[in-house]
């Protein structure tokens, strides 16, 4: 029988993984909610975020707080990239068949990830944990790295900020309206084009931030994009496509299933995650907290 401190440690590991995934999946969910597109390139934005953070660390050189600057810079860089892609290319596919939009995001992912390979090569890049949070402490007999705790707290903070923007600001109201009815919003004189660019940039920002923040925990390598995108899909589907709190819940469920799955069926925990996704889709296709689409 596993003891309490182990269960505690295990659930915190699950939460850390969950909050990373939430950062990434929330962007995916936002784009889907507003633009009705599954953005396959989102995983690549995440990977580029990690690479940009690494690169910014090199440029900044040693100094206090440079990790945070690098992470923020990387996320902003990815937001900019997302904005440019949306303005120049993606825009022209609105109103076309979903399949074409999807294919475009897939192609974009292929191009960008190969571009990353040209710039950074195939050798892995490693970023150190920021010195401010490199320690760990013991709670209920479990060792908890400070950085993990930071991530666990960052997740809800971002979710709350997100919720606040959506519910309490003008832009947020427009975004929610755009998700429901684009034409009417345009007829009311709202610049829908700008709104879409903004949404795309915000989503890219979150993807890039996720990549930058994960780089101290994992090696940054080519191929990390194809792995994460499927995980992010699972999360948004479980929680409900386009639903903020659904994505949050989906991430938490995902993290816990993986964490505890290895105890009960060590070799089939990846199986469990997809089985859960299928079960949710069968029973409640719009996800745990989502709303059915028209």
């Amino acid at each position: 029988m596993p003891d309490a401190s182990f269960v505690f440690a295990q659930s915190l590991s699950g939460l850390t993984a969950a909050m990373f995934l939430f950062l990434i999946a929330s962007g995916l969910s936002l784009i889907f909610g507003v633009l009705r597109v599954l953005n396959f390139a989102h995983g690549t934005f995440y990977m580029l975020g990690a690479y940009l953070a690494y690169q910014s660390m090199l440029w900044l050189g040693p100094g206090p707080g440079r990790f945070w600057l690098a992470a923020l810079g990387a996320a902003l860089g990815i937001a900019l990239l997302g904005g440019v892609v949306e303005r120049v290319l993606f825009r022209h596919l609105y109103g076309k068949e979903e399949l074409y939009q999807l294919l475009f995001t897939y192609a974009l992912g292929l191009i960008l990830s190969d571009a990353a390979k040209i710039f950074w090569g195939t050798q892995q890049k490693s970023v150190s944990r920021p010195p401010e949070l490199s320690g760990s402490f013991t709670l209920f007999g479990a060792t908890i790295p400070q950085y993990n705790l930071f991530i666990i707290m960052l997740g809800p903070a971002i979710a709350l900020a997100f919720w606040f923007v959506l519910q309490r600001t003008r832009a947020g109201r427009f975004i929610r309206a755009a998700a429901l009815d684009r034409e009417t919003l345009g007829a009311l004189g709202v610049n829908v084009d700008r709104l879409y660019t903004g949404v795309f940039m915000l989503a890219s920002f979150l993807g890039g931030l996720g990549g930058a923040l994960i780089s101290p925990m994992r090696a940054t390598t080519p191929g990390m994009d194809t792995e994460v995108i499927v995980e992010a899909f699972v999360v948004v589907v479980i929680g409900g496509l386009g639903s903020l709190w659904g994505t949050f819940l989906g991430a938490v469920v995902y993290g816990q299933v993986l964490s505890f799955g290895i105890l009960f069926f060590p070799r089939f925990s990846i199986f469990a995650v997809f089985a859960l996704m299928a079960a949710v889709l069968i029973i409640r296709p719009w996800g745990l907290l989502g709303r059915p689409l028209r």
Binding site: F32, L38, L89, H92, L93, K96, E98, L99, Y100, L103, F104, Y106, A107, L108, G109, L110, I111, S113, D114, A115, K117, I118, T226, V230, F233, V234, V237, L241, R267, F268, I270, F271, F274, A275, M277, A278, L281, I282, P285, W286, L293
Partner: protein, 325 residues
């Protein structure tokens, strides 16, 4: 015989003649293209004809490959039993998964097909005892061509190797499968699928059980994908879990769209072009995804009807010009 039927016959004859070129590589390439053509055409039954976008078609391809592989390698069953079994298992899985999938629409449908495919992949990847796990199952035997080889010993023109015999077998079997698929899409059943794609509500209104039709299409597509997988495992000299991974599903989807999902032979053209392009590119650069991505973007903005659509439009224009002149 129609012009189209004649063209199909010519392609069939040309395919049979490939080994006569004397290059084992051309035969290898043609074999690859032909199997993928069947796989892509089976997907088109869903995407193009019924309007169901599946993200998980590789599941049935993978199941077929593993079924044929396991039956031939571990149970030493002959090809005549092991290959049809791939179709049967492909269809059975498609029936099981499809039953749930067709209840959903659009993006949810796509996501559920993806989830099921990933489940199949996870099983192949982790069930080491049955599937060989991550290492896959190398050394799937070729079908027994003993009698052909004995014949080849006495008839000098037939002195091919096993790989060539397997190629001929593939050409014939895929031709039969494509013929059956063509019969299906031109039958009243096939036309009903198109009606459903165009307007499911109207079909429902005139008393058609849309779900049942969609499920039938799903099962048929799964069966033919399974058959393609069964052939591919042998051709590839091994079966590996990434046959069922989501990237394989996207590859076959790209082939279908690249070739053009509006026509019956579009996906086959897509398979041909994509595989030949890949062959050419990888000799010069390791950045194949970059090239593929760029090709896709150009295609999307320039030729949304795919290659077959572009050729059709072009020939239509030329035809009109000739007529008006």
């Amino acid at each position: 015989m129609t012009l189209r039927g004649l063209a199909a016959l010519v392609v069939f004859a040309a395919a049979l003649a490939v080994p006569a070129l004397g290059s084992r590589f051309y035969t290898f390439l043609a074999n690859d293209v032909i199997i993928w053509a069947l796989f892509a055409t089976s997907l088109n039954l869903l995407v193009g004809y019924t309007g169901l976008v599946s993200f998980g078609h590789a599941a049935y391809f993978g199941v077929g490959a593993y079924v044929t592989g396991i039956l031939m390698k571990k149970l030493a069953l002959p090809f005549v039993l092991a290959w049809p079994a791939a179709g049967v298992f492909g269809a059975a899985c498609a029936l099981l998964f499809g039953f749930f999938c067709v209840r959903l629409t659009r993006i949810y449908f796509a996501m559920l097909t993806l989830a099921f495919a990933q489940i199949v992949w996870a099983i192949c990847f982790k069930w080491n005892e049955l599937t060989g796990g991550e290492q896959g199952m190398p050394e799937i035997p070729y079908p027994d061509f003993g009698w052909l080889e004995r014949l080849g010993a006495s008839v000098p023109l037939l002195g091919w190797r096993t790989a060539e015999y397997f190629y001929f077998l593939t050409v014939v079997l895929v031709a039969v499968c494509l013929w059956v698929l063509h019969r299906i899409v031109t039958s009243p059943f096939g036309r009903m699928l198109t009606t459903i794609r165009e307007n499911a509500e109207r079909a429902e209104f005139i008393g058609v059980n849309v779900r049942r039709y969609e499920l039938a299409a799903f099962v048929l597509a799964g069966a033919f994908a399974g058959l393609a997988g069964g052939l591919f495992g042998i051709f590839n000299r091994g079966v590996f879990p990434d046959f069922a991974y989501w990237t394989k599903s996207s590859e076959v989807l790209i082939m279908t769209l690249l070739g053009g999902m509006g026509t019956f032979f579009g996906p086959s053209i897509g398979a041909l072009v994509l595989i030949l392009l890949n062959q050419q590119i990888v000799s010069y650069t390791e950045y194949w995804p970059l090239v593929l991505g760029t090709v896709l973007v150009v295609l999307l903005f320039g030729f949304p009807g795919g290659i077959a659509g572009a050729i059709g439009a072009l020939s239509g224009r030329v035809f009109r010009r000739v007529r008006s002149a």
